[in-house]
Symmetry: C2
Subunit: 183 residues, 2 copies
C-alpha cells in the first residue's frame, strides 16, 4: 500500500492508520438577488480573502489531503480551488453528493471504494446545513442540528480504521475563520 | 440588568442575549509517579507554555468571561490562573462539580442560579472525560464519547436563552492548542 500524497500516520494503537475527514464550508458568497441561478453565486472579495487565510492556516498546520471533493456549485468550487492553490491537495473532484440534494448514503458508497486507495486524509467542500448534518450522522448516527459550521469554517473527524463511519467517528475540530486566524 | 464584565451581545433574533459556555481542559501535567496524590500534579513547563499561548489567543479574540469556574485539582487551578493572568476574567472560583466525581446535575442547579446574574460568558476548567461528556449532554442530551478534547483545548457552546441547556445547546468551537496557535 502506498501513500503518494501524505505520510503514513500511525494510529494510537500502532495498528493501521488514522483516517481523517475534513468538512469545509464555502466562503462568503454574493447575494442571491444578483444571480438567476443559486449555483452561479461566486465568492465575494471578502469571502475569497477569508478563505485564503483559512487555507494558509491549514497549510501552516501541515495538512495535506489525498483529495478535495467539492460541491459543483460555484462558491464551493472556488473555495476548493483556493485550498488547492494553497497546496493543501493536488487532486480536485466534483461530486453531486455535496450539492444541496446530495445524499450521504450515496457518498458513503463512493467513500468505501475511495478509502481502499489508502489515502488517510480527505476534504469535502460544501454547504450548510448538509455539512453539519453529515458530521452529526458520522459522529452520533443522527441529525440534531447542534453544530454551528460558519462560512469557510472547518470540521475535523477521525474515522474508524475499518467498517462504516456512521455513528462511529470522532469530532476533533470545529472552527470558524475567526478562530483560525487573526483578523 | 447590568453586564459589568462583558458587553451585551445581541442574539440573532435581536431578543435577549446569546449565552456562551466555554469548557477548557487543563494543560499538560506532571506524570503521576512523582506525586502521591493525583490532585497535586502540577502543569509541566510545556503545559504552562502551551496554556499561556492558548490564553493569549483567546485574549486576542476579545473573549472575556464573567467567571472562570475551575476544578480544585492543582493542574486545573493552575490552568485557570493562567487564563486569569491573561485577562480573560477577573473572577475565579473552585467547584467540586468539576472534579472527576463531579455531577453535571448539581452543576446545573448552580448554573441556573448563576445565570440570573446576567453574565453572558462562563468558562469551566476541568478534566477529561468529564468535559467532553458534559458538552455532549448539553448538545445531544447524552454521552456518546465522540468528542476529542485535547489538553489546553477548548469547547465553545451556545446555550439557549431560557430553560435547561441539556440537549438544547449548540457546539460552535472545538479546538486543540495546535489549531489555536502556531507551534
Amino acid at each position: 500500500m502506498s501513500y503518494p500524497d501524505e505520510p503514513r500516520i500511525p494510529s494510537p494503537s500502532g495498528r493501521g492508520v488514522v483516517k481523517e475527514l475534513y468538512l469545509i464550508r464555502h466562503g462568503i458568497a454574493a447575494e442571491p438577488e444578483q444571480y438567476s441561478h443559486d449555483r452561479d453565486r461566486p465568492l465575494t472579495d471578502e469571502g475569497k480573502r477569508k478563505t485564503r487565510k483559512v487555507a494558509a492556516r491549514l497549510s501552516e498546520l501541515n495538512l495535506h489531503f489525498g483529495l478535495i471533493l467539492t460541491s459543483p456549485l460555484l462558491r464551493a468550487r472556488q473555495t476548493a480551488e483556493i485550498l488547492i492553490a494553497a497546496g493543501l491537495s493536488s487532486q480536485l473532484e466534483e461530486s453531486n453528493d455535496l450539492a444541496f440534494d446530495g445524499d450521504i448514503q450515496h457518498w458513503l458508497t463512493w467513500f468505501e471504494e475511495w478509502q481502499q486507495k489508502g489515502s488517510t486524509r480527505l476534504a469535502l467542500v460544501g454547504h450548510e446545513p448538509n455539512l453539519g448534518n453529515w458530521a452529526e450522522i458520522l459522529t452520533w448516527g443522527e441529525i440534531r442540528g447542534s453544530l454551528v459550521v460558519k462560512k469557510a469554517g472547518i470540521v475535523g473527524l477521525t474515522l474508524p480504521e475499518t467498517g462504516s463511519p456512521v455513528g462511529r467517528s470522532q469530532l476533533f475540530w470545529l472552527a470558524s475563520p475567526k478562530l483560525l486566524f487573526l483578523a
